[in-house]
Amino acid sequence: MAFDHDTVRRTAHLARIALPQTEIPAVADQLERIMGLVEELRAIETTGVPTMAHPLDLDQPLRPDTVGNHDQREVLMASAPAAEHGLFLVPKVIE
């Protein structure tokens, strides 16, 4: 399938990747090869085969609803680039 430059730009935006204009042709080429593989997989007849959500043949274990966590805010926030009054600070976002 043809992977045009607009699709590359849109995909990069959705993934929040800053993709320099000069790299777009190379990325388009790589994505096209990946999609080639996907196309091959799609060609396989899967009618009647149940969806496999996970390769492990196990069920989801459940956790009892008991509080175990103690406040570790100071430790956990230590690696944040910016924090104040117990809040993580990020560049302003307004919907």
Partner: protein, 476 residues
């Protein structure tokens, strides 16, 4: 030619578990920002989610209550989008295989008609955190205490055909989650939130393009927003325009819906199964264990109230709208006439609560106290009129029913001789009215009853007053 409105609702019910859905952080409002976080809900690399059993059980309870298919095998998926209050860059949700499949909810409409509304699905997912935009210049503060709170998203079929039907459905669902004790139902705090999909079509035609209205945190706003949206879409369609499929926000202050401009491109959530979570398998013993502990549900309770207490469908509907109110009523009705108890709970009690802006949960008069008051009417200790006075007293100032009756000498006068003496005095004092009554002016009986009741300070038994008056006025 008329338009038909088509409405479907998506409800997010916050499950009232003790801990978050994928980690053991506590859930509590009003805690210090980020004090209820851990590597899992902060999305630290390498941290893995582990599903909370109580969230699963509460989803099963909802599924059983709406007669839904419970998927024995369901899958968690990643819903990808970027927003700072979602630290992983995706929300864990369920997509292709939700835990709860198709079910139904029967709602009672104002005209007594019942309507069955389809529920498409209900799935488990996690809530996001909160962003605070005001406090910092050029920056937003992020509090992730709410991140990872379990939500059950309940999606209806587009089965509702009027704002009133949508409100009836939402109220029924609200009552149900509280009966089941799976959600506290607090709409102001956002524990029970609703989005509405609204479209118009010519009757019988295919569905029109819909708009999704967000931010509906009360029954009234849901009704108003749909009403506004019907007019907006009708104006567009009748002037030859086309409805744009979009998300709109309801602004209660201006009573209108507005398009939400989003910088995000057309939603492309790129769902895929979450490799961190294995398929959720429900075994029969788990489902049966939940079925065994299900409480009596609103419809069953309503039917029982109608037969056990001889109530009308309407009264039984009002009294079973909430589990707390229903329990309160049953305590009042214990040992007294069910209809009399219903009149007191629905009339004086709900009226006073409404006037004072208090919910039944915070009612200042205990059910036991109201039961005693009703009992005192039934056993003729006091009249209904005196009971209203005592009710006002205990509602606003407190006190004990019997102490007030005795302390103020409010006991009803049922002594025939005493009432007869008062009747004689009144008849003697009003010879003209007595003569007129005997001459055929029957309406004057009311005058005499009023006079005797006044003379007795409302304490004479009205039935006895009536009987003795009639007897005395026929004589002589």
């Amino acid at each position: 030619m008329d338009w038909e409105v088509v409405i479907g609702l998506e409800v997010h019910a916050q499950l009232n578990t003790a801990t978050k859905i994928f980690c053991d952080c506590p859930i509590a409002f009003g805690a210090e920002p980020n004090s209820h976080t851990c590597p899992v809900c902060l999305a630290m690399p390498g941290a893995l989610p582990v599903l909370n059993a109580a969230a699963v059980d509460k989803a099963i309870a909802l599924g059983l209550a709406i007669g839904a298919e419970l998927n024995r095998h369901s899958i968690f998926a990643r819903k990808n989008y970027f927003y700072p209050d979602l630290p992983k860059g995706y929300q864990i949700s369920q997509y292709e295989l939700p835990i709860v499949g198709k079910g139904t909810l029967t709602v009672q409409l104002a005209d007594g008609v019942e309507k069955v509304v389809g529920v498409t699905r209900a799935h488990l997912e996690e809530d996001a955190g909160k962003s605070l935009h005001e406090a910092f210049i050029g920056q937003s503060g992020i509090d992730l205490n709410r991140a990872g709170t379990p939500l059950l998203e309940i999606v209806s079929e587009p089965d509702m055909r009027s704002p009133a039907e949508a409100v009836a459905y939402l109220k029924k669902l609200h009552a149900l989650v509280r009966y089941l004790d799976i959600c506290d139902g607090n709409m102001q705090e956002g524990s029970f939130r609703c989005d509405a999909n609204v479209s118009l079509r010519r009757p019988g035609a295919a569905y029109g393009t819909r708009a999704e209205i967000k931010n509906l945190n009360s029954f009234r706003f849901l009704e108003k927003a749909i009403e506004y949206e019907i007019v907006r879409q009708r104006d567009i369609l009748e002037s030859g325009g086309q409805i744009v499929q979009e998300t709109r926000l309801y602004d209660a202050n201006r009573d209108e819906t507005r398009s939400m401009r989003s910088k995000e491109e057309a939603n492309d959530y790129r769902y895929f199964p979450d490799p961190d979570l294995l398929p959720l398998v429900l075994d029969e013993s788990r489902i049966e264990r939940i079925r065994d502990i299900l409480p009596e549900l609103p419809d069953a309770k309503r039917t029982r109230f109608m037969s056990q207490y001889a109530l009308t469908a309407y009264d039984a509907g009002v009294l079973t709208a909430g589990r707390v109110l229903a329990d309160y009523y049953e305590q009042v009705a214990a040992g007294v006439d069910g209809k009399l108890a219903a009149n007191w709970v629905m009339g004086d009690l709900l009226g006073a609560l409404n006037k004072a802006g208090i919910e039944i949960e915070g009612c200042p008069v205990s059910a036991e106290k109201l039961r005693l008051l009703v009992q005192r009417i039934a056993d003729q200790t006091i009249s209904g009129k005196i009971a209203k006075e005592i009710f006002e007293e205990i509602f606003y100032r407190g006190g004990e029913v019997d102490a007030i009756i005795d302390g103020r000498g409010l006991r009803q006068i049922t002594d025939v001789a005493a009432i007869a003496a008062m009747v004689d005095a009144i008849v003697t004092a009003n010879p003209q009215q007595a003569a007129d009554f005997r001459a055929g002016k029957d309406k004057l009986l009311g005058f005499f009853v009023g006079q005797v009741m006044k003379a007795s300070q409302g304490k004479a038994n009205p039935d006895q007053v009536n009987a003795i008056l009639l007897e005395r006025l026929q004589k002589s």
